[in-house]
């Protein structure tokens, strides 16, 4: 079987036989997945396929029944999110992704909660280098910002710990269509190009796959296909059967 790692460098995140869900209910069954440094890996699939649950299971936010998760070769299965962050995962949640009642600089500082002061200042510089626009808005309350700017704050906040793996949960949800491309390209893709291992769960399969190296198509809680993104994109059957309207819109 072709492996996702062929598309990039060293494997950073590796999931094996992951079964997870809520309460007693299994939502995802036996998922295998890997993300390597410098690559963008997308998880796509129809509504209710279990994309978000898979992601939350990796992040220690829902119950893992079986399987393992490894980060840089170390077992991190069932680690709580804050532990994973300390070990090099950056997480950008869906929609509710910032401290709304705090200012931009406070959001970034909070992202650097684990760091000492000089490192924090340095990282903020780095984030501003990545998102120059934010420099003008440092003192604004995030709650008053537009969707696109807000997403920058969310990603910037996640980058403060200088994570090796960055996980995006539907970053384009709730964004104006004109912003979709730029969020995926300037954030997810750009981070992969800078050597990060990027895992992206996305509803807008078409847009995501165009930028991704590797794709996992999730259907009813199982990996229906794991292949190069370009191959999934060009496969007419995939579009019809698994992605439904998602490819078109």
């Amino acid at each position: 079987m072709a492996d996702a790692s062929e598309s990039g460098g060293k494997t950073a995140l590796e999931v094996e036989g992951l079964t997870a869900g809520y309460g007693d209910i299994e939502i995802v069954h036996g998922i295998d997945l890997s993300v390597s440094e410098g690559s963008l890996v997308s998880v796509v699939g129809p509504n209710g396929a279990g994309k978000s649950t898979l992601l939350k299971a990796i992040l220690g936010l829902v119950k893992v029944f079986d399987g393992s998760i490894r980060l840089d070769g170390h077992d991190v299965t069932r680690f709580p999110l804050e532990q994973l962050v300390r070990r090099g995962i950056g997480y950008v949640p869906q929609v509710d992704d910032v401290f709304e009642t705090l200012r931009v600089h406070e959001n970034l500082e909070m992202g650097g909660y684990l760091l000492d002061k000089p490192t924090r200042a340095r990282r903020i510089e780095e984030v501003l280098e990545f998102f120059p626009v934010l420099a003008e808005h440092m003192r604004r309350y995030v709650g008053t910002m537009s969707g696109g700017e807000r997403k920058m704050v969310a990603v910037g906040r996640a980058l403060m710990t200088s994570p090796r793996v960055v996980i995006f949960d539907e970053p384009t949800a709730g964004l104006a269509p004109t912003l979709v491309q730029s969020v995926l390209e300037d954030q997810a893709r750009a981070l992969a190009d800078r050597g990060k291992a990027v895992l992206l769960v996305e509803q807008r399969a078409h847009a995501a796959l165009q930028l991704s190296d590797w794709a996992y198509v999730l259907v009813q809680g199982r990996v229906a296909r794991s292949a190069r993104a370009a191959d999934v994109l060009s496969d007419p059957e995939m579009g019809e059967v698994f992605l439904g309207g998602a490819v078109k819109s």
């Binding site: 509504n47 209710g48 709650g143 008053t144 537009s146 969707g147 384009t172 949800a173 709730g174 964004l175 104006a176 269509p177 004109t178 979709v180 807008r204 847009a207 439904g244 309207g245 078109k248 819109s249």
Partner: protein, 608 residues
């Protein structure tokens, strides 16, 4: 009377009077979901009213106690007065529901009302003798010789319990109970199907209040005295514990709970001999046990010993299945004739024909900000009568907000909404629904504890069983109509091919089935314009197909639909006209085929 006889009489009278109060609170809290922590205040109001209407004038007792009125009324009249006063106060207390606070805030506000009332009554001596309380309250059975009076009182209390129960059942069971449970399960959804939630709440609190009043009057008449110490807010907790232990929402559970909790524990422990020198030990122990019981049940059995009647058993009451089975669903094969039945004209068919060419909905320049963000920014559009109009646009374009403004769930910052020729911009949401402008929700908001069928039946507009007076007249008054409604609901289930789910608890339906239910419930209200908010989101292709078929069938019968939708295929198939919204404004309008060819639309939306 012997010693134990005396105990027995006191315990039984306590039981009976507590039971009436607990039933009343159960009606409010258990069935209708109103967390009335001020309930004991209503009991007290009944007790005081009974006292001051049976006692002679205050001046006649030589300054022994002070109070107002002193009317010396006959006992039955006094008890009725008590019920009336508490009913009015109960309705007033119901105003706390106006602001639609989160339920725990309501509970707290009511708790404070209770404590404030205690403080005020204690402080104002001239009203009902302040903190010392009233004494020498006449016993309604004082003409009976003392040795028999106790048991006679027990008899009277139990008789009144039976009477109260006969009335109460009409509110808690059957169609009215169903309506209240719907409101308890989801207030927003109840508003969306045209139920006047505030009025219902006030009605329920008036009925519950009247029961509190009767309970208080009987208690005061028996005890002969009544003071602020008898109705501290903690007493409401005793009633609440009885309900939680016995079974929330179940009248029989409340009987059991009342026998165990207030009677045996709170009253019972007072008859125990003092086992230590600490006089506080025994009564406090009662409260501690009560607190532990409440917590134990909240943790381990929140539904109580006898949980609320399950939907299956209720079904036997609401719709005689045998009778319905005889009616073959022949309509199922013929969508048109059946839906004709579904959306019966609302009595204005002639006018509708006359206005054929007039748009059913005209929205002019509506605006709405959320915390500085323009959600809707001057949108203007209209919906043609008898059409299915699509409203599409990218995420965040303001479609759902626009739909909220049209249905009255979101206030318009500016602009007007005209429906069926009338300006409804200021009309409250439930009133728009009653006029035939009905919405569904993007996230399904089913009445979770009702069955699928009940969810539909409850949505029928202007049912006879919907008013407190109507329900008091009993099944003979509303039974036939109820049967008719149930049949209509079953036909609707057939149209959506969900007959087999009729008796399923709606909370247990799958996501897709809930969405179908959401739409069916909207249709059940007999709307003239149905606003569907992304009805196919999360639906399987099969269900999407089925929903589309149903929409087309309903349109054939004259229903207009405004459809907010993401799935362009569905829009293509169903919609006559499509409105494109971008950034809070209407960007384009036309047929789907037409829009596809337009470059700017493609750029803004289709390619995304």
């Amino acid at each position: 009377m012997t010693g134990w006889e005396y105990y027995a009489v006191v315990l039984l009278v306590d039981f009976g009077t507590f039971l009436i109060a607990a039933w009343g609170l159960n009606l409010e809290f258990g069935v209708a979901g109103v967390p009335n922590l001020a309930y004991i205040f209503l009991v007290a109001a009944g007790a005081y009213t009974y006292a001051i209407t049976t006692l002679g004038p205050s001046s006649g007792n030589g300054g022994f106690q002070h109070y107002v009125i002193g009317a010396h009324l006959p006992y039955p009249v006094a008890i009725l007065c008590a019920a009336a006063v508490s009913a009015v106060l109960g309705a007033l207390v119901g105003i706390t529901g106006l602001k639609r606070l989160r339920p725990d805030y309501q509970a707290m506000a009511l708790l404070v009302v209770s404590i404030t009332a205690t403080t005020l009554v204690s402080a104002k001596t001239s009203l009902v003798n302040g903190s010392a309380g009233l004494a020498l309250i006449p016993n309604p059975l004082h003409s009976i010789e003392p040795s028999k009076r106790g048991w006679a009182y027990v008899g009277m209390v139990f008789l009144i319990c039976l009477l109260v129960f006969a009335v109460l059942r009409r509110f808690t069971d059957g169609p009215f109970g169903r309506l209240l449970r719907a409101m308890r399960d989801d207030e927003e959804a109840a508003l969306a199907i045209g139920k006047n939630v505030v009025a219902l709440r006030i009605a329920v609190q008036a009925v519950g209040g009247a029961m509190a009043g009767v309970s208080g009057a009987l208690l005061a008449g028996f005890l002969g005295g009544w003071s602020p110490g008898a109705w501290l807010f903690i007493e409401t907790m005793a009633l609440l514990t009885a309900i939680i232990v016995g079974g929330i929402g179940n009248n029989w559970g409340v009987v059991l709970g009342t026998a165990i909790v207030p009677t045996l524990i709170v009253q019972g422990v007072q008859f125990l001999p003092d086992i230590s020198s600490n006089p506080e030990l025994i009564p406090q122990l009662g409260w501690i046990i009560l607190g532990c019981l409440t917590i134990g049940f909240l943790f381990f059995r929140p539904a109580g010993v006898i949980p609320e009647t399950g939907v299956r058993r209720r079904h036997r009451v609401i719709a005689e299945p045998a009778e319905l089975a005889e009616q073959p669903a022949d309509g199922a094969k013929n969508g048109a004739s059946m839906s004709n039945w579904l959306i019966a004209p609302r009595g204005d068919a002639d006018r509708r024909l006359a206005d054929e060419r007039e748009d059913i909905l005209v929205v002019d320049d509506i605006h709405r900000d959320f915390g500085g963000v323009r959600a809707v920014d001057g949108a203007t559009f209209s919906v043609q009568r008898g059409s299915i109009t699509g409203l599409i646009g990218p995420n965040g374009a303001g479609k759902s907000t626009a739909l909220g403004i049209v249905s009255g769930f979101v206030r318009a910052g500016r602009g007007t909404v005209r429906f069926d020729g009338a300006d409804v911009t200021r009309a409250p949401n439930y009133r728009r629904a009653r006029r035939g402008l009905v919405r569904t929700f993007q996230l399904s908001r089913e009445f979770a504890t009702l069955s699928t069928l009940e969810n539909l039946v409850v949505a029928a507009p202007r049912a006879r069983s919907e008013s407190a007076l109507g329900v008091l007249r009993g099944r003979r008054y509303w039974g036939a109509e109820e049967r008719e409604i149930t049949q209509r609901a079953r036909r609707l289930l057939a149209l959506f091919q969900m007959e087999d789910k009729a008796a399923e608890r709606a909370g247990n339906l799958s996501g897709g089935q809930k969405r179908m239910l959401e739409v069916m419930r909207g249709v059940m209200t007999q709307p003239s314009l149905l606003l569907l908010d992304e009805p196919t989101a999360g639906l399987s292709p099969r269900l999407t197909q089925r929903l589309g078929d149903a929409c087309l069938a309903l349109r054939e019968e004259g229903l207009s639909i405004l459809l907010v939708e993401h799935e362009l295929e569905t829009v293509d198939r169903l919609c006559d006209t499509v409105i494109v919204m971008v950034q809070g404004k209407v960007f384009a309008r036309g047929s789907m085929a037409d829009l596809r060819t337009r470059k700017e639309v493609q750029e803004a939306y289709l390619v995304g």
